[in-house]
């Protein structure tokens, strides 16, 4: 029979010894764990020694993936665009055709005819090549496309996605950032910024003045089709608050009179106004 309490004393000794021992915690952002070469935490396409994708778009990986996580598209040997993926995954739910297929009433789109209008593929291809398909140039390419078409057509986005080998969802998500339109607008597009900075420095009074001036509310177009008014928190000109964007030009800081003046100015000019410069605020 051991002396009562020896077990407890041993326990105390153990904790005291470990009190002075080196600690095992890894401070995560400072010290990263050494991942093994076989680590499979992230899906990635492998490159060959010449810098090209080794993927041949055979879809075998997408077919055997147990949780159907892989959605892929590419070009086959004839140059046809091919893709594999569940029809109901993220992007296509927004597609009116997918809505129709699913049996749900398709939402009427404001300008359905032009969302997938034919585009000048050589223009987009030239842009992508001009930026050497670098992913960081995505926003610049978007800017150029929007400058030309006034919005980002879906076909252009699809082409950018395929040419730059960026997932469609990522391209679509990036296009949803401030400053890009996914739908064509009628006439001049007036965007009043409603971000917090603009709102508190008088953006709401500007919006009220424009409502009065144009006779329409946000999201509406004038009857003559010359102006479309909208609000967005993505004008992206916080330093110029309160800011407003006319087509692609960002103005600010504005007061009510200046805002009215901008509208009057556009009214005076004819519809043949030249293409404005890309806004510098992006």
């Amino acid at each position: 029979m051991a002396i009562p309490g020896t077990g407890i004393v041993k326990g105390f000794g153990t904790t005291l010894r470990n009190f002075f021992s080196p600690k095992v915690t890894r401070q995560y952002p400072e010290t990263r764990p050494q991942l093994s070469d076989r680590w499979r935490g992230r899906l990635d396409l492998i490159y060959d020694p010449f810098g090209d994708h080794k993927c041949e778009v055979c879809f075998q990986c997408a077919m055997v993936c147990p949780v159907e996580a892989i959605d892929m598209s590419g070009f086959d040997s004839q140059g046809n665009h091919i893709r594999y993926g569940m029809p109901e995954i993220y992007d296509e739910r927004k597609d009116p055709n997918a809505w129709r297929r699913s049996g749900l009433p398709a939402l009427p789109m404001r300008n359905p005819a032009r969302w997938d209008e034919a585009i000048d593929t050589s223009f987009v291809n030239g842009l992508v090549d001009g930026y050497a398909a670098r992913p960081e140039a995505l926003v610049a390419i978007f800017n150029a496309v929007q400058t030309r078409y006034g919005y980002l057509p879906e076909r252009a986005l699809r082409l950018i996605s395929d040419r730059m080998t960026i997932h469609w969802a990522q391209v679509f998500g990036a296009a949803g950032l401030g400053g890009f339109r996914l739908l064509p607008s009628e006439g001049h597009l007036i965007t009043v910024c409603d971000c917090a900075a603009c709102h508190f420095s008088g953006g709401d009074s500007i919006l009220a003045a424009l409502r009065e001036e144009l006779g329409i509310g946000p999201g509406e177009s004038t009857d003559d089709g010359r102006f479309t008014l909208e609000t967005s928190s993505g004008v992206g000109a916080g330093a110029m608050a309160p800011a407003m964007r006319v087509d692609t030009l960002v103005y600010g800081p504005l007061n009510v009179e200046q805002a009215r003046h901008l509208i009057h100015e556009r009214r005076r000019t004819t519809a043949a106004e030249g293409t404005p410069q890309p806004a510098g605020a992006h």
């Binding site: 326990g11 105390f12 153990t14 470990n18 009190f19 021992s21 600690k23 095992v24």
Partner: protein
């Protein structure tokens, strides 16, 4: 009005305010120590992001509970539910009044401070019991009943274990007990049995591991505190750590010579210097026992409730009685 009465009232108000203010940094320091020491013993690093070495972690915790929603269950007994944390916290805070921190540094230097202390610290059981009752929750009820049973049982060996010291020193004032220890050596030497009884019983009295079945999280979620949130929970939390501090100070006062250094007090250090010197030793010893309590929490599993009761009544109480009789006989025979 009498000037001395005015002075006395002023001194009382000042000292109680200071004591009340002292509870907050005390709780913060001990919470931080607990986080850090347990972490180091578990081979972790512990808090290290908020301030240097994470020293503001417990302050952040304090502000966090302040910011949380103060929630009262639908069928709770509202006034009692609201009062309970306050009672527990005040019991802990008021017991700090009689702690002699250093020569001349005591809020309430009473002749019966020992009795006052045990009367006040026993009040917290009422708070815990009504907290468990008023929450309208079965876990809270079980926790409240456990706390009542445990604390009432352990009051007895706790109180009996210090009667030995009181007989030995012949005084009920903490200050005088320390003075006696200056002349005769630390109480530990005279009360070799009394000290472990007091240590175990006080650990149980303040619901610390291994006697924390009042809030045994693996069994009854959080016991009496299950339904509490926000600052009401914060009061329970603070009270727990303030009680830990208070019990350590009393342990030091009774058995380890209070503010006395392990060697004779230097005579030239009178007045302010002596106070600082005494405070240093007092805090050092107190935090040593706080450390021991945290160390135990990192080491020991929890005792079961019936084992706990059995130990109080079958082991600690007889031992405390024997200790009391032996001390009394020794005092008479050797005329100490």
């Amino acid at each position: 009005m009498d000037l001395s009465l005015l002075l006395g009232v002023g001194r009382f108000v000042l000292s109680t305010t200071l004591i009340l203010l002292l509870t907050v940094p005390t709780a913060f320091i001990i919470i931080y120590l607990e986080l850090k020491v347990i972490a180091l013993m578990q081979l972790r690093i512990g808090p290290n992001r908020v301030g240097p070495a994470g020293i503001f972690q417990s302050a952040i915790h304090g502000f966090k509970v302040l910011a949380k929603e103060d929630f009262t269950p639908d069928q709770a007994d509202r006034p009692v539910f609201t009062m309970a944390p306050w009672m527990v916290f005040m019991a802990a805070a008021m017991s700090m009044l009689v702690i002699p921190f250093a020569p001349g540094l005591v809020a309430l230097d009473s002749d019966i401070s020992v009795i006052y202390f045990f009367a006040i610290i026993g009040l917290s059981v009422v708070g815990l019991l009504v907290a468990g009752w008023a929450s309208y929750n079965k876990y809270s009820l079980l926790g409240g009943l456990r706390s009542a049973a445990q604390m009432v049982s352990y009051e007895i060996p706790l109180t009996l274990s210090i009667v030995g010291v009181v007989i030995l020193t012949g005084t009920l004032s903490f200050t005088n007990i320390i003075e006696w220890q200056r002349l005769h050596g630390w109480g530990l030497i005279w009360q070799l049995v009394g000290f472990p009884i007091f240590f175990i019983a006080s650990t149980a009295e303040i619901n610390r591991t291994p006697f924390d079945m009042v809030e045994a999280d693996s069994e009854i979620v959080a016991g009496f505190a299950t339904e509490y949130s926000g600052m009401r929970f914060g009061f329970f939390f603070f009270a727990e750590y303030v009680s830990l501090f208070v019990m350590s100070t009393i342990l030091v006062t009774l058995f380890f010579g209070g503010w006395l250094a392990p060697w004779p007090f230097p005579a030239q250090l009178a007045g302010f210097g002596g106070t600082i010197y005494g405070l240093f030793w007092f805090i050092l010893k107190t935090y040593f026992f706080v450390f021991v309590s945290i160390w135990a929490r990192a080491t020991l599993p929890r005792v079961r409730v019936d084992q706990l009761m059995g130990m109080a009544w079958k082991v600690l109480l007889p031992l405390a009685l024997v200790n009391l009789f032996v001390t009394a006989i020794a005092v008479v025979v050797f005329n100490l």
